[in-house]
Each structure stands twice: as structure tokens, then as C-alpha cells.
């Protein structure tokens, strides 16, 4: 990540525009919500467009600039044989590859297929199933190619995206803590919804980054940022059970947007 930063190049007032890094945004199996977080930057969007050359971003422009790319943001999971070929090609063209969102980092909600038989879905949904060429699973990008950095979330947090871009542009490490959401609740002064309301909150096992979005409005965290750095899911599951959740409900709590993330997958299977 530590390339010489463009802004450090010419402190002496050289008017030539520094060469801007080329940014590409790619989509795999996903809803596009994470790449839209880039457009959602609104106030900062012009600054982003000035700082990087947007070379490939179909949600924003049909213009395409050929690779190689300095940074590739990759959204979505791998669900087809063609996805595998395409991500390998993108990896080859990208100096830095950053996966964005629960689909790209854990397989997404569509990883629910990993717990069932894909043939059953295909025959139930499509009138002519033999047209469908698909993998049996939905899996994260890092299962197929080396990934330099991951941004979690469903969707990702725009502040984390800006932090990532700013860190890359300025040649420093991005600040992306991997501790629990609870840190963000406490910093905001949000009383714990699990303790005060008995809410089935996944915050203690979920990675921070959202700014405690749901607990701040009185809702339990549903784990859309995936497992924190050292999740103790079985201890949380025991507490959820003591709080009255049924076995099936506990399985469902861990089996949502990050169903494919190792710690959540294992805990959901314990309660299958």
C-alpha cells in the first residue's frame, strides 16, 4: 500500500497536475448498494473525482479507460464459473484490490445457498434450468485471488470508504478497527440495547465500522459488518438462548448477510 503519495510530490508550487491514481469499480453477485456508497459521498464526491481518475465505474459513467488500474474496488461474491475467470483477470490488472461489502468479503446473503442444494433452487425458480450455469456456492473474493484490503458492511460505510481512499492517496495506513461494534456504542454514549432492553444484539461479536448505526436508533445490531477480530459467538448464543430466543432464531441471527463468514457460519450450524 505504501506507494509514494501523489500529494507529497510537489510541495514547491509546481502547477502540473500530479498523476492521479486510476480507480476502477467492479461488480460481481451483488445489489450495487456498496458501489453506490461511492456516489453517496455527495459532499466529498467532487474531491474524490479530483483526487482519482475514475477509470471504470458503470454506475457512474459508461466511459471506460483501459487497465492496469491503481485501485480496484470489487463488489459482489463469486457465484458462476465466469466470475472466477473475471476476478482473476481483474486481479491481474490491479495494483491494489479492495473488496467492498458483505458479498465480496463473506459471500453475502446469497451465501444462504451454501446451506442448501443449488439444484433445488434452480429448478424451483427457472422454467428452463438447463440454461443456468452456476456454482453450488456463493463465496467471497478472497477465496479466489489475493485481496489487499476488505471493507465490511451491508452496505459499506461511506466514511470508511473515504478513509480508505484518503489513506491510499496520502501514503498512510487506513484506520479500520476490527474490534466490536460495542466500542462505537460506548463512544457515542448509546446505552447497550442488549442490557437495557434485552434486544438480541449481535454487536458484541460484530466488527465496528458502521458507527453503531442500529443501536443508536434503539435497534439490535444484526451483524452486517461480519465477525469482529475475536468473536465468541457461542457465548453470545448462550445469552440469546437465555433471553428467550429459540434455536432456529439463533441460527437465523447468525445466518444473514454474513452467513458465509467462518465464525457466523459455524455458530449458525450449531443451531441448525
Amino acid at each position: 500500500m505504501a506507494r509514494s503519495a501523489p500529494h507529497d510530490a510537489k510541495p514547491d508550487g509546481d502547477r502540473r497536475a500530479p498523476k492521479r491514481p486510476k480507480l476502477a469499480v467492479w461488480k460481481f453477485s451483488s445489489c450495487d448498494g456498496c458501489q453506490l456508497s461511492l456516489l453517496d459521498c455527495e459532499d466529498e464526491l467532487l474531491a474524490v473525482a479530483e483526487a482519482v481518475e475514475i477509470a471504470y465505474f458503470l454506475e457512474a459513467t459508461r466511459a471506460r479507460i483501459r487497465g492496469p488500474y491503481d485501485v480496484s474496488l470489487v463488489e459482489g461474491s463469486i457465484t458462476t464459473p465466469d466470475d472466477i475467470r473475471r476476478i482473476q483477470k481483474i486481479r491481474g490488472q490491479s495494483r491494489l484490490l479492495v473488496t467492498i461489502g458483505a458479498c465480496a468479503t463473506a459471500g453475502g446473503i446469497q451465501a444462504l445457498r451454501n446451506f442448501a442444494r443449488i439444484h433445488d433452487f434452480v429448478t424451483a425458480v427457472y422454467p428452463t434450468p438447463h440454461y443456468i450455469e452456476t456454482l453450488a456456492t456463493s463465496t467471497p473474493i478472497h477465496d479466489y485471488v489475493p485481496v489487499d484490503l476488505e471493507l465490511r458492511g451491508c452496505p459499506i460505510d461511506k466514511h470508511q470508504l473515504l478513509e480508505l481512499l484518503s489513506a491510499l492517496l496520502n501514503g498512510r495506513a487506513p484506520v479500520l478497527p476490527t474490534h466490536a461494534v460495542c466500542v462505537e456504542c460506548k463512544m457515542r454514549g448509546v446505552p447497550c440495547v442488549a442490557v437495557a432492553k434485552g434486544a438480541p444484539c449481535l454487536g458484541p461479536v460484530t466488527q465496528a465500522g458502521c458507527g453503531a448505526l442500529c443501536p443508536a436508533v434503539g435497534r439490535a445490531c444484526y451483524g452486517c459488518f461480519g465477525p469482529q477480530e475475536s468473536p465468541n459467538c457461542s457465548a453470545l448464543a448462550a445469552t440469546l438462548k437465555a433471553g428467550g430466543l429459540e434455536r432456529r432464531q439463533i441460527a437465523h441471527a447468525f445466518r444473514s448477510f454474513n452467513a458465509g463468514a467462518e465464525a457466523f457460519r459455524r455458530e449458525s450450524e450449531v443451531h441448525d
Partner: protein
């Protein structure tokens, strides 16, 4: 405070009786003197410390009950005595006001000539805050943080400025939550020092009132300005009986909670005890205990830049020994196992704090017990280790 004229009957005396009008006058007087008054309020189904502008903002008619992993905030029974402060502790104490969760340490701005201009954060005056309704354990916690931040060669100037300006008005405890154990830590339920004013609520249905005691010149000046009457022996006896009731509730003989004696020595000699692994099976590593603890002070430093690289900012933010990254050094984190992280916290708090700061890091407020999502209980863990040693 500005120059005052004495209006009260007991002007010059350190104890007086205030009725609710007197308390309202205290809030109004502090506001008029430019202070934001911070006190307990009901918010988000819990009690939090927040700005209050009127006596009506206080949680009158509310009651808080606490147990390991559970805090219940509900309207009091209609026939209960008329309390303003029956809500034990707010979810977080005044730590977040004296030692904010995130604080800018400095900011550097690039100027047109390519040089850097550095901000001076200490030039910012701290907010003028008056805290109303602080529990004795919280005063004790402030005294602990004073040692951490103000003593030694590296005093924290921001903490010092906030601390110097803060007015501390305590309310002695007349009821202990099931998680409270201040009596065994020697920090409550009645404040003995560290306050400007200490109130004891006497919830007499016919004459709800407070015994008010001044503990500083600033407190004496505040008190002198309030409508009041002198405290008679009945008032003092009622206040004594009310706080004695909280002590009685914390007595293990009555089913109350206490920290075992000699816990520091116990923990120093049981660093390899198998109980640490048993706690780790339950511990979520979520950091909640450390962040609600009124004495925990650990922080990390983060850098931020603008996209164009024209501004760089360094922030200090709360961190926790339960975060894996907290013990990160060259090559990795030192305390990767949950058992190592829990042990670090508990032994620092109860044993090594003495070596470092000459005082226990625990004031017996019980927040770590109440606000732990799985109800891990520091007093019970200490007892379990002690019990297994005796076997």
C-alpha cells in the same frame, strides 16, 4: 462563581436543608453563572448523563434495577416515596466529559507556501460543566483518574482544564443496586470527600427534601445563595438512616455484594489459575466493561487526512485492553487469548493499579457487571479464584 450575598438561614454553615425549590434554584443559579448542568436523564430506555435545564428533566418517579447483564429502567411504584434520584447509576459516568471518547490532539494545515501550520488544542477553553447527582463511587473514580492524569511527569492538560472547571454535586446513595459493592471498596454509599456539594435525598412524602453539605469554598458559595433552612437533628438522622440502608443492602449477610478482602494479593499469586480460561469461555471480548468503567483510561491514537492532503489530524480515542489490536507490537498482538485479555484487565484493575497509582482501580460501582452483555461478575470471579485456592 461571582460574588454572592448570603440569603440562607444557615449562611456560613456547611449543612442545610433544601426543598425541591432549593434544588431548582441550584440548577437555575448554575445555568445563570454560565454552567451547563449535567445530570441523570431518561433516554433510550436507560438513564444517561446529559444536559438538564430544569428540575423536571431529572428522572423523578423512575427506578432503575440492575443485575449482572441486565439494567431495567421503569416507572417507580405509584405509592413509592417521591424520589428524584432513585435511578442508581447512569449507563456511563462523567468520564466521557472529563476524558472525551475522541479528542483532537493536533491538526496540521498546509499553507500556500507549502509550509505547515499546527493548531494549539490547549488554547481551547474547556466547557463549563456542573455535574448534578454524582454518586459517591463516581467521585471516588474522579479521584482515581486525577492520580492517573494529573500526577507524575506527564499530566494531561486537557483533563486538568476540564477537571479544574467542573462543579461536582454528589447525591449520596440511599439504595444500592444488586450490582453495587462500594461499601466493600470504601468508596460509598456516602461521599466523604471530593465534592463541592453533597445532597442526601430524604423522600418524605409530606416534605421531600435534601440534606445539603458543602465540601469546598465553591460549594459553600453555591449553597449560601439558595433558599434553605438550617439542618436540624431530625434531618441529619433521616439522612444517616437513608444511607445506612444502602450499606445494609450491600452487606453479604443480607444477600448484598462485596469484593473479597485481599483481592490484590490473591490475583498477584494466581496469574496461572485455570479460572482465567473458564471466564474466557463466557467473555465476548466486546470491551463494554472497560468502556463503562469510570476509571479505565486506555486510549489509542489515530491519524486522519483530507483527500487532498492539505490537512492532517491526530486524534486520541478510547481503546480497550479487550481489543486484540491494543497489545499490538512488532510481529503481532501480545494478548491474543481472551483469557489473557480478561486477566490483564482484572489484575490491572484490582492488583497492579495499586503498584502503579497507589490506589485500587476499582471503586465498586458495578457497571462492569451490569453492562456486561453476558453478565460476567468481577466480584464472583474473584470469589471463584479465592474459593478454588482454599480447596
Amino acid at each position: 462563581m461571582t460574588q454572592r450575598t448570603h440569603r440562607g438561614d444557615t449562611a456560613g454553615n456547611d449543612a442545610a436543608v433544601l426543598d425541591r425549590d432549593g434544588l431548582a434554584a441550584l440548577i437555575a443559579g448554575l445555568s445563570a453563572a454560565g454552567f451547563s448542568v449535567i445530570g441523570p436523564r431518561i433516554a433510550d430506555g436507560a438513564v444517561v448523563l446529559d444536559e438538564i435545564t430544569d428540575i423536571a428533566d431529572l428522572p423523578a418517579g423512575w427506578r432503575v434495577d440492575q443485575a449482572p447483564g441486565r439494567v431495567e429502567t421503569r416507572p417507580a411504584d405509584p405509592d413509592a416515596p417521591p424520589h428524584l434520584f432513585d435511578t442508581v447509576l447512569p449507563a456511563q459516568g462523567l468520564k466521557r466529559y472529563l476524558y472525551p471518547p475522541r479528542r483532537r490532539l493536533w491538526q496540521a494545515d498546509r499553507d500556500a507556501a507549502g509550509g505547515w501550520h499546527l493548531s494549539d488544542e490547549d488554547a481551547q477553553p474547556p466547557p463549563a460543566l456542573a455535574f448534578l447527582g454524582l454518586r459517591p463511587c463516581e467521585l471516588a473514580a474522579v479521584a482515581v483518574q486525577d492520580r492517573v492524569f494529573l500526577e507524575g511527569p506527564y499530566a494531561d492538560s486537557d483533563y486538568a482544564a476540564r477537571r479544574r472547571r467542573a462543579v461536582l454535586i454528589a447525591v449520596n446513595c440511599t439504595r444500592a443496586a444488586a450490582t453495587c459493592f462500594c461499601a466493600s471498596m470504601g468508596t460509598g454509599p456516602r461521599a466523604t470527600a471530593g465534592y463541592d456539594l453533597a445532597l442526601t435525598e430524604i423522600p418524605d412524602p409530606d416534605a421531600p427534601r435534601f440534606l445539603a453539605e458543602a465540601g469546598s469554598d465553591r460549594g459553600r458559595a453555591l449553597l449560601a445563595d439558595l433558599p434553605q433552612r438550617s439542618a436540624d437533628p431530625t434531618d441529619r438522622a433521616a439522612a444517616d438512616a437513608a444511607t445506612a440502608e444502602a450499606t445494609r443492602q450491600m452487606d453479604p449477610a443480607n444477600g448484598g455484594r462485596a469484593m473479597i478482602g485481599d483481592v490484590a494479593d490473591l490475583l498477584r499469586r494466581t496469574l496461572d489459575h485455570p479460572h482465567w480460561d473458564r471466564v474466557a469461555e463466557r467473555c465476548l471480548g466486546c470491551t463494554n466493561c472497560t468502556l463503562v468503567c469510570p476509571t479505565c483510561f486506555c486510549a489509542t491514537v489515530e491519524d486522519e487526512t483530507t483527500l487532498d492532503g492539505a490537512t492532517a489530524t491526530r486524534w486520541r480515542r478510547w481503546d480497550s485492553c479487550f481489543a486484540v489490536g491494543f497489545s499490538y507490537m512488532h510481529g503481532g498482538s501480545v494478548r491474543r487469548e481472551m483469557s489473557a485479555r480478561y486477566r490483564q484487565w482484572m489484575t490491572h484493575k484490582l492488583a497492579h493499579w495499586h503498584d502503579q497509582f497507589g490506589v485500587s482501580g476499582c471503586v465498586g460501582c458495578g457497571r462492569c457487571i451490569a453492562w456486561c452483555p453476558v453478565g460476567i461478575d468481577i466480584t464472583a470471579e474473584a470469589q471463584a479464584i479465592a474459593a478454588s485456592e482454599e480447596r
